[in-house]
């Protein structure tokens, strides 16, 4: 059985339009699952629903989120928090706002281990030092004494990756972890995340709009349009032959480094119309059923 199994998850704005339309996906242990789609397709919303950090303006209207054999949505809030805290972590999008500017780096990594998981201070410090070394930070002791504003964006993203792995989680949600970074730094960070994931055997839910990134780190992917999963397939199959016209158009719209002269292909209007019709058909069906 999959480690994370989302079944028919529906989310909408309170008294507003749906944001996720019966999303289903399976992530096996130690697998990397990509979530791709345009802005506003609901990629991040899936990750937030799993981690229980949906904004207050959003509500879950149906479905199940099975994590490690329990349906998170049916757990009482306190138990759910503990379950998520013990098994999941987040690598956020923007390293500039993801570290608390008022605290030094060391405590930001270790306090959660000490306060919430009951580690000893010495164990937590040693763990943080090891992880910082693992993400190739040259002088872990010095960095642990620094404030976030004293470090560069790439450094901060490394720290966030180290911090995400600190409690040895089984699932990490990476919400566009390279989007806010320089292109040259992006590649290093991707390699780092891939390496850490493989070494620690962590399942990864990887939110991105960059198909190039997906081809490098993911094994499976779900393509979303307007909160509807239009395709859920293995990465190899996807790049060989996309199973849905929208996926094919999305793939064609990706710039090719091998052939820059080819230019960019916009997603054709006919494809957009077709996928919108699918969404409309789903909504009509949902209303009747």
């Amino acid at each position: 059985m999959s480690f994370l199994s989302i079944r028919n998850l529906s989310v909408r704005l309170r008294k507003g339009p749906p944001l996720l339309r019966a999303v289903s996906l399976e992530v096996a242990a130690a697998q990397v699952h990509g979530l791709v789609g345009e802005s506003g397709a609901g990629k991040s919303m899936i990750g937030k629903a799993v981690l229980g950090i949906l904004p207050p303006s959003v509500e879950v209207t149906g479905g199940e989120i099975w994590l490690d054999g329990v349906d998170l949505l049916r757990l009482p809030a306190r138990v759910r928090r503990q379950k998520i805290g013990a098994t999941c972590a987040l690598i956020p999008q923007d390293p500039l706002t993801a570290l608390n500017p008022s605290h030094r780096i060391g405590p930001q990594i270790t306090d959660r281990l000490v306060d919430i998981l009951g580690w000893t201070r010495a164990d937590a410090d040693a763990r943080a030092r090891d992880l910082l070394a693992e993400v190739q930070i040259a002088d872990p002791d010095r960095v642990m004494r620094s404030y976030p504003h004293e470090l560069s964006g790439g450094m901060r993203q490394r720290i966030l990756i180290a911090s995400a792995f600190a409690a040895e989680p089984k699932l990490i949600v990476a919400d566009e972890p390279t989007t806010a970074l320089d292109v040259t730094v992006q590649k290093q960070i991707l390699k780092l995340i891939g390496g850490m994931q493989a070494r620690h055997g962590t399942a990864l839910l990887f939110v991105t709009h960059d198909l190039g990134v997906v081809s490098k780190v993911c094994q499976r992917l779900s393509v979303l349009y307007s909160g509807l999963v239009v395709e859920d397939t293995s990465v190899a199959d996807f790049f060989a032959a996309p199973g849905h016209p929208y996926s094919a158009a999305l793939l064609a719209a990706t710039p090719k480094y091998t052939d820059p002269a080819a230019g960019l292909q916009p997603v054709p209007d006919a494809v957009i119309a077709a996928v919108r019709a699918e969404v409309a058909a789903f909504d009509a069906g949902g209303a009747h059923g």
Partner: protein
Amino acid sequence: MLDGRSMVRRRAGARLWLSALWLGLLCLAALLAPWVAPKDPLAQDLFLGRLPPFWVQGAEPGYWLGTDSLGRDVLSRIVHGARVALMVALVAGTVTCLVGATLGLLAGFLRGWVDMVISRLIDIWMAFPPVLFSILLIAVLGPGLWSIIIAIVVIDWTRFARVVRAEAMAQGAMDYVASARVAGRGRIGTMLREILPNVLPTIVVLLTLEMGIAVIVEAILSFVNLSISTDDPTWGGMISEGRTSIHQAWWVLVFPLVTLFLTVLSFSQLGEGLKDRFDPVLR
């Protein structure tokens, strides 16, 4: 690696030291008033009325800043007035800050119905004209030091609540708050550990501003004779009395006014100076 910003030692700032010096002197004067004040602030002597300050022709030795129309020593009255002013500033400022910042933090971080209730309350509260509201409150509570303090807290908590709410909301949207929640920190824990330290510099600035405002409010209420009993000297009361003899004895009005001005200025500069020095992001 570590960039140059961490190497720069920020200057301590003259304004921090100057304002701290003035407020320190004032605190000493207030604490030691009976021993420091050269004369009895209440002693009247009609033969010594309207003596000018020491550098003007006709000054009497011992009456450094002159006397008012009843022959009371201006300097001694200013020194004794500092007791009321500082008492109001410290107590009213702190209590206002605690009430307002707590409500603002709760509203801004918890959102939902808590925010609804507190925000509507702020809106309604701020629709009252503050001066009339305070005069009304004093009229109900009766004049006295504690009435002034209560009036300031009741009126000014919205100042903190509004700003802290907005700041807490902005901080609440940051990714580090999401990370803390994922890690399993509770709502109150997240609020105190993740949000509060980032709102604290703003709270400190507001607190010192509020202390200055409290001094002014006390002076205004003394000016309209609604402060503490008229026997105890207050800066506002002195300004009010000095106003009637401004053409014959300017010093009765000007010295308490300058003291008031310097004190309020020092409070606000102290806040800015502290923020510069202790905000890790600016540091």
